[in-house]
Amino acid sequence: MDITFKNVDYIYQENSPFAHKAIENLSFHIPSGSFVAVIGHTGSGKSTLIQHLNGLIRPSNGEVHIGDFRLTNDDKPKNMKELRSRVGVVFQYPEHQLFEETVAKDIAFGPENFGVYKRDIEKRIKEIIPAVGLSEELLERSPFELSGGQMRRVAIAGVLAIKPEILVLDEPTAGLDPRGQKEIMEMFYDLHQKENLTTVLVTHSMEDAVKYADHVIILNKGTKYMEGKPEEVLTQQEALNKVQLDVPEMIEFLYAFEKRFGLPIPFKRQSVKQLADEIQHAMKEAGSHE
């Protein structure tokens, strides 16, 4: 499903002395099947943006289109429930939302509410459990007896169980250790490709954005600050520094290297190994010319 924002404003507590504009004149288009990273500081409007994606809030002004669903201030789709069954949102620290007696019941809660047959839910659970890196032995355990990392996976499984077409991830790796972070991101990337999902990742990590996203939106104070391919946007050091964001560390190094040696090495999302070879080449060639 495509996602389109057209001149969207969102004002909290509108028409009150506490009115606060969280999003201002925001427009963008995300084609179906993209992996988009939304980056910005606390207060930049990221969370407000994602709450529009499954109709938790509607724009104060402007229009939001999610596939055929249209959200405006005075009009919401009649079939809101269907929208929510097609847009899965993994909120920050999703393990705080676990509540059922067993892992299996917790995962089944979402699809049950959307009227999926019991038999089908069981089938889905069987598919999802290995995909999120859990074992079936845990299904009858209480989710509260599990480790933090396992709880996070159960909560994610609950969202995947509704078989969404759009997957929205709000800092899904916060608080995990480095291995856990990598495993979870690889899992989402894998699912994104296999299930042909449209993925919206809200993150502070420039490294994840550059690694997984094919499109980047940078928000600042509720407005769109930059947008484009990661290798175009995330290389603009000066512009990013202006809003107190950093370029990914590899790009930072490439600029410092160029400054010191006068040898430009373009960033093309190469691996560290490739980069090492390029540095070696560049230095050798420079050496042989002298």
Partner: protein, 279 residues
């Protein structure tokens, strides 16, 4: 010889009789004015160590000494004056209705006289750069600002050690920088040991010494440079290695001999420059 501040002697801990051991025979020392980072995968026992240091938990085996005084039920109130702690979630540790009330809370509990309290509120808020926010309500602060107030509240008690238990994990990059520069500032100016429990490699690199926990035991204990030299083995236990250390490794494999285990950009560029001038 530096003076010992915290001593762990053969400490073992588990949360219940049926539960597995979280810490197994752990011994280490932390010195006065030292900055130590504790790293390890989730569940490796890092946070348990922090909670044992100020008597939020007690070990089943072994002893813990703070300033030579053993930590037990009778000493925890003295110990907690010396051991300040800031936790992960900025919203779970704000008790006051304004910034200055929050800083005053800990001091009120310790019966510090009013004049002294006012002086210390001023001092500690200035130390974390929050002096202009005295009367601000907590919900108007960013996560980074809340954590700075939490640090100020701890500093107002003038402890000998400040423990940051993943205190930057929930902050954005800007908030993290705020906290780390605040903390190193404070440590420079005061007699204070610092223990940072973290997954953030930039924080680890700043420490003098690193304790690596793995499955309840100390896996290694050394300077950051020595720790990050063990790249593949660190990855095996689920930890990460700084980008620069990884790049230096790959450069070595590609035939450029990087000798000094660089930890930051400047160090690696310097090494490359030396090689370059010999080419």
């Amino acid at each position: 010889m530096r003076e010992k501040l915290i001593e762990f002697r053969n400490v073992s801990f588990r949360y219940g009789e049926e539960e597995p051991w979280v810490l197994k025979d752990v011994s280490f020392d932390i010195y006065k004015n030292e900055w130590v980072a504790i790293i390890g995968h989730n569940g490796s026992g890092k946070s348990t160590i922090a909670k044992l240091m100020n008597g939020l938990l007690f070990p089943q085996e072994g002893e813990i000494y703070i300033n030579g005084q053993v930590v037990n039920q009778d000493t925890i109130w003295d110990i907690r004056k010396e051991v300040g702690m800031v936790f992960q979630n900025p919203d779970n540790q704000f008790v006051g209705t304004t910034v200055q009330d929050d800083v005053a809370f800990g001091m009120e509990n310790r019966g510090i006289p009013r004049d002294e309290m006012i002086r210390r509120i001023d001092e500690s808020l200035t130390a974390v750069g929050m002096q202009d926010y005295r009367l601000t309500e907590p919900h108007r602060l960013s996560g980074g600002q809340k954590q700075r107030v939490a640090i100020a509240s701890v500093l107002a008690i003038s402890p000998q050690v400040l423990i940051l238990d993943e205190a930057t994990a929930m902050l954005d990059p800007k908030g993290r920088l705020e906290i780390m520069s605040t903390v190193s500032n404070v440590q420079d100016r005061n007699e204070l040991s610092l223990i940072t429990i973290t997954h953030d490699l930039r924080e680890v690199v700043q420490a003098e010494r690193v304790i690596v926990m793995n499955e309840g035991v100390i896996w290694d204990e050394a300077k950051p440079r020595e720790i990050f030299a063990k790249k593949d083995r660190l990855r095996e236990i689920g930890l990460d290695v700084p980008f620069i250390a990884t790049l230096a490794d790959e450069l070595n494999k590609s035939g450029l001999r990087i000798s000094n285990e660089p930890l930051n950009h400047e160090e690696l560029l310097e090494d490359l420059w030396t090689l370059h001038s010999k080419m």
